[in-house]
């Protein structure tokens, strides 16, 4: 590593930020692609219901539908509550 690179490396590495963001959004969009069309609306509806009680941001809720074998689909709901609202 050259001297200049040494000082540069203290700056934030934007490529790794890009990679992390992409991994998250791509995984999210793939799930949605493979799920039924009503899933985004279901997610919004559930968010509305929860927001009647607790104010949570939209990215703190995840709904997914997973196929387990031929017979069963599992609807998974993941809500992260902010620390002070528990």
């Amino acid at each position: 590593m050259s001297l200049l690179d040494y000082f540069r490396s203290t700056k934030k590495n934007t490529a790794s930020t890009a990679k992390e963001r992409l991994q998250i959004i791509v995984a999210h969009e793939r799930k949605r692609r493979n799920g039924p069309d009503y899933l985004p609306q279901l997610e919004r509806d559930i968010l509305e219901v929860i927001r009647k009680y607790v104010d949570i941001p939209a990215d703190q809720i995840a709904v997914s539908l997973e196929q387990r074998g031929d017979q069963i689909s599992v609807l998974e709901l993941n809500v992260t509550f902010p620390d002070d609202k528990r």
Binding site: S2, N13, A18, K19, L22, E29, R30
Partner: protein, 269 residues
């Protein structure tokens, strides 16, 4: 049997037409009878990149509408044997390509050609869908940049759900990742996604890495596909890509910064 290869990306301006011209020319150079079809209706550009813009008489839509036959419409490349171009129409009617029309033309081309390269328009609208629908293989052109990678992932989704092969339950389209405008220097500085990063996210087989290169602009200025510039890095990277497309194992080049002088190593730059 002709092989239909779509060159697609979702995002615009990433290098689809540059790559279609290079791939078509490369396959023809390797002795395969090849036609490059411009699916970018309304925004014809392949003719300029191939340097045959003044020889366009009829176009794709004329053939579909029965106003001209393929023989009158196909443009034979002047530099490369075995190579033909089917130009796009300049019509503003977005629905000028019908699925039946496209199928009819592709079926007729398939009788004569080994490879049919479909240069897709950007986006995920009907034009892009039409270009990928009949494909056997897909070259997904991607830049090492967030929006391009995300759009490529969407297109990969389309390839596996909205294509003829998907709808008829046939074996899926063979997908290849072509990373273009790669800048090893910026990758080493942590400013650009690396080949490995993009491979990991998109999870399809890597067919080539084309460096960001001045040779590409020079090539398009003069209407010569860059693969003919065999001295250039981009030209050589496309030649390697063709070999891989034809099943050869070729090591990847131009992935790292060239060795610099001692002074530069100390002080960077």
């Amino acid at each position: 049997m002709a092989k239909i290869i779509v060159v697609t990306s979702g995002k615009g301006g990433v290098g689809k037409t540059t790559s279609s011209a290079a791939i078509g020319t490369g396959l023809a150079l390797a002795g395969h009878k090849t036609v490059i079809v411009d699916f970018d209706i309304g925004l014809r550009n392949l003719d300029l990149i191939m340097g045959c813009e003044r020889r366009v008489v009829y176009d794709f839509v004329n053939v579909i509408n029965g106003e001209a036959n393929l023989k009158q419409t196909l443009i034979k490349d002047k530099r490369t044997d075995n190579l033909f171009i089917l130009p796009a129409s300049q019509t503003r009617d977005k629905d000028a390509l019908t699925r039946e029309g496209v199928e009819k033309v592709l079926n007729e081309l398939a009788k004569d050609f080994d490879f049919i390269i479909c240069d897709s328009p950007a986006g995920i609208e009907s034009g892009a869908m039409m270009a990928l629908y009949f494909a056997d293989e897909a070259v997904v052109v991607t830049n090492p940049e967030v929006s391009s990678v995300r759009d490529s992932d969407r297109i990969i989704g389309m390839l596996s759900s909205k294509s003829r092969r998907a709808e008829q339950g046939l074996e899926g389209i063979k997908e290849h990742l072509l990373l273009t405008r790669y800048n090893p220097e910026r990758v080493e500085k942590g400013e650009m996604l690396s080949v490995e990063d993009v491979k990991e996210i998109l999870a399809i087989e890597l067919i080539g890495v084309i460096p960001e290169s001045q040779a590409v602009l020079n090539a398009s200025n003069s209407g010569q596909p860059v693969i003919l510039d065999t001295e250039s890095d981009a030209g050589q990277a496309y030649l390697d890509t063709i070999k891989r497309l034809l099943g050869e194992q070729v090591p990847f080049r131009f992935l790292t910064v060239e060795k610099k002088s001692f002074i530069k190593r100390i002080f960077g730059g």
